[in-house]
């Protein structure tokens, strides 16, 4: 019975594949973009992948999501895709160090990988890391929050998953912005591991219920707490607590338009997928290699970082920020080969 069911599923897949018309292609590379697990942040990767395949004539750019946010599931998925003939991998590391053994194995088999949205820890065989400068983004977001608060008060940092390599950097950046206020601003609390719906609901609502009178502002450096905090502040009906979030979920944008939220730091996941797939195609074609002497940014994790762009969305640009990000993506892509690659 099991074999028959498996056979039916497999046969359906084969049939579906056979019936899919192939677009005209300039490259026979198959590129996989693999997040650390299911998360709304990565949703624009799918469109970025599809657009890159179309615009650059790549045989396939596929968005593959591990079923859970666990490194071993991610590595199993990567290895199975390598076995299927994928030649380039854009990976958000499930763990900054844990991913490196798999990436080294890919490299040993002639397959290229780059880190997208989050970096692997050096030494690594990742070609480079292309993502948000999370330290800078969190720093600018906290500065914007302090400005919205009138330069003084107590703030709370709603941080993401502890297993996310970016969380530590963001925490340090928030602390730096607070330290620069000469004691006028204090960090009341850092609430970590809020980048999951249930945890965010419980922790943020409990925080506001218990301490809202002591809180002047909140900075969220992860997607889900941004959404949950925006909703919680709307329900509270209290515009005294200033809030700066991250990413551009419609709930956060609506709250910005209604004056409930001061702003949110936009990232560029679409651009990460689009430019990442473009670069992987060039690397996998064998005609280009990463230029070791390129003007990479050095971060605590890697000496090969490239910023995919960030900007503050406020009530002033809530309607036009996407055009700004698309222009930024085009600009990065247009100069990428000359700036970061060495091609024959």
């Amino acid at each position: 019975m099991i074999i028959r069911l498996g056979g039916f599923i497999a046969a359906s897949i084969v049939a579906a594949t056979a019936l899919t018309p192939l677009a005209s292609i300039a490259s026979d590379n198959r590129i996989a973009l693999i997040p650390g697990g299911p998360h709304p942040y990565f949703a624009p990767w799918e469109q970025g992948a599809a657009d890159a395949a179309r615009d650059f004539g790549i045989a396939a750019v596929d968005f593959k999501v591990p079923s859970e946010w666990r490194l071993e599931l991610q590595t199993e998925l990567v290895e199975s895709l390598a076995a299927q003939g994928y030649t380039g991998f854009g990976i958000f590391p499930g763990d900054a160090v844990g991913i490196n053994s798999t990436v080294a194995e890919l490299k040993a088999n002639g397959l290229n990988s780059i880190a997208l949205a989050g970096c692997a820890q050096d030494p690594t065989e990742m070609g480079f890391c292309f993502g948000t400068d999370v330290y800078q983004s969190a720093y600018l977001g906290t500065k914007a929050l302090i400005e919205a608060m009138g330069g003084e008060g107590a703030i709370v940092h709603l941080a993401g998953l502890l297993v996310d390599p970016n969380t530590t950097l963001r925490t340090q950046a928030v602390q730096k912005a607070v330290d620069e206020s000469d004691g006028k601003v204090t960090l009341l609390q850092t609430v970590a591991d809020t980048d999951a719906q249930e945890a965010a609901d419980q922790k943020i609502n409990a925080l506001l219920a218990a301490q809202k009178d002591q809180i002047s502002g909140m900075i969220a450096t992860a997607y889900i707490p941004s959404v949950v905090a925006s909703t919680a502040l709307r329900n509270l009906g209290d515009k005294r607590i200033k809030f700066v979030g991250i990413d551009d979920d419609p709930i956060v944008l609506d709250a910005i338009r209604d004056g409930i939220v001061a702003g949110t730091m936009a990232q560029n996941p679409y651009g990460q997928a689009y430019v990442g797939a473009y670069a992987l195609d060039l690397l996998a074609s064998g005609t280009c290699t990463v230029n070791a002497d390129a003007a990479f940014v050095t971060t605590p994790q890697t000496a090969h970082f490239i910023d995919s762009g960030t900007l503050l969305i406020s009530s002033a640009n809530a309607g036009t920020y996407q055009d700004d990000l698309k222009a930024l993506t085009s600009e990065i892509q247009a100069g990428f080969q000359a700036k970061y690659l060495t091609c024959n």
């Binding site: 019975m1 099991i2 074999i3 069911l5 498996g6 056979g7 599923i9 497999a10 897949i13 084969v14 591990p66 079923s67 859970e68 946010w69 666990r70 490194l71 071993e72 599931l73 590595t75 199993e76 998925l77 290895e79 199975s80 390598a82 076995a83 299927q84 003939g85 763990d95 900054a96 160090v97 844990g98 490196n100 053994s101 194995e105 088999n109 820890q121 502890l162 297993v163 591991d193």
Partner: protein
């Protein structure tokens, strides 16, 4: 009773396939059929890259299966296999990265840690008389919670490269981790087949009251089995750390629960206790790993994997019930 025993009886071929002695052969045929099925649909399934990956996953699944099997032998169960696993992963990381111990010493420390947690389970079960299901359900949360408090959920990701290198290494084309799993399997085979302690464990599992009256120290057998389960869970944890090259709190846990039961139950180990199958457990793990790898290579989502594993476990349990019924009928006929 171990998988070496078989009573010569006249049966139809169908019944023969359902008797214990043929369980491993049946499993082997099913695994082989899946290999043919997957490799014909997805040539990448037999690529060197995929076989290496499959081999390393299989090795860990086998040892996870052993960790449950040794407790099933006593008629109990250990729901804290995954919790002990993740504690051992983090203990390995702590001993190597924070204390800077040499790797062999750190591995020994991790195995001892696993044994201690298993021992706690065994002592609690024997001393309180509470069912192992309840005790290990509680201890799973206790161990995981304690680990999170002590480590603050921060991964140890600055381990020496040699740990990861061993996880990736091969001997004559066979992943080193598979050889480790095979060595553990051989040791367990010797334990249950050739030692007094092994026979006492199986006797205690088959009928605790009868064993007790025959002078078998049932309590000691249960405590030893749980301590051994802890050691094996820790061994799987060390292997996983070697595979990943890092120790992190997001591994093990509940993810090990289903595979830990699947491998031994598919292989013919009785849930009621008294009979284990080391070879069967290895084949059961091979079936699970094959299906997982095959579905991934066929690009069938991981979400389907959970469904398939659940169906397979249910089928295996029903088959076991059927076999147990047949065995009872045969005993009645003999009497």
């Amino acid at each position: 009773m171990t998988d070496s025993d078989s009573a010569p009886m006249r049966r139809t071929p169908v019944l023969d396939l359902l008797n214990k002695g043929s369980t491993q052969l049946g499993l082997f045929v099913i695994v082989l059929a899946f290999w043919i099925f997957f490799s014909s649909l997805a040539p990448g399934f037999l690529s060197r890259f995929n076989l290496n990956s499959l081999g390393r996953s299989l090795a860990i699944d086998i040892v996870i299966g052993f960790a449950q099997m040794v407790v099933l032998a006593t008629g109990g169960m250990n729901l804290s296999v995954g919790a002990i696993g993740v504690c051992s992963v983090m203990l390995t990381g702590f001993l190597v990265q924070t204390l800077g111990l040499p790797i062999p010493l750190a591995i020994a420390g991790s195995l001892l840690g696993g044994a201690a947690l298993g021992l706690l389970n065994g002592v609690a079960i024997v001393k309180t008389g509470v069912n192992s299901f309840i005790v290990t359900l509680a201890s799973a949360s206790l161990f995981s919670g304690g680990m999170l408090i002590l480590t603050k959920a921060v991964p140890y990701n600055a381990l020496p490269a040699s740990i990861g290198e061993f996880g990736k290494s091969s001997v004559a084309g066979i992943p080193s981790l598979i050889l480790v799993a095979a060595a553990i399997g051989a040791a367990l085979l010797v334990l249950y087949r050739y030692t007094r302690l092994g026979r006492e464990i199986l006797a205690a599992g088959a009928n605790a009251r009868a064993a007790q009256m025959s002078g078998v120290p049932v309590g000691r057998a249960i405590i030893f089995s749980h301590a051994l389960s802890g050691v094996l869970a820790a061994a799987a944890a060390v292997m996983l750390t070697a595979r990943l090259g890092a120790a992190m709190p997001s591994v093990g846990g509940d993810d090990w629960l289903l595979p830990s039961f699947l491998a031994p139950v598919l292989g013919g180990t009785l849930l009621a206790g008294g009979m284990v199958s080391v070879i069967g457990t290895m084949l059961g793990a091979a079936l699970v790993s094959t299906i997982r790898s095959g579905l991934l290579v066929l690009q069938v989502g991981n979400f389907w994997l959970q469904l398939f594993l659940g169906i397979i476990l249910l089928a295996a349990v029903l088959l076991e019930r059927y076999r147990a019924g047949l065995a009872l009928k045969r005993q009645a006929r003999r009497a």
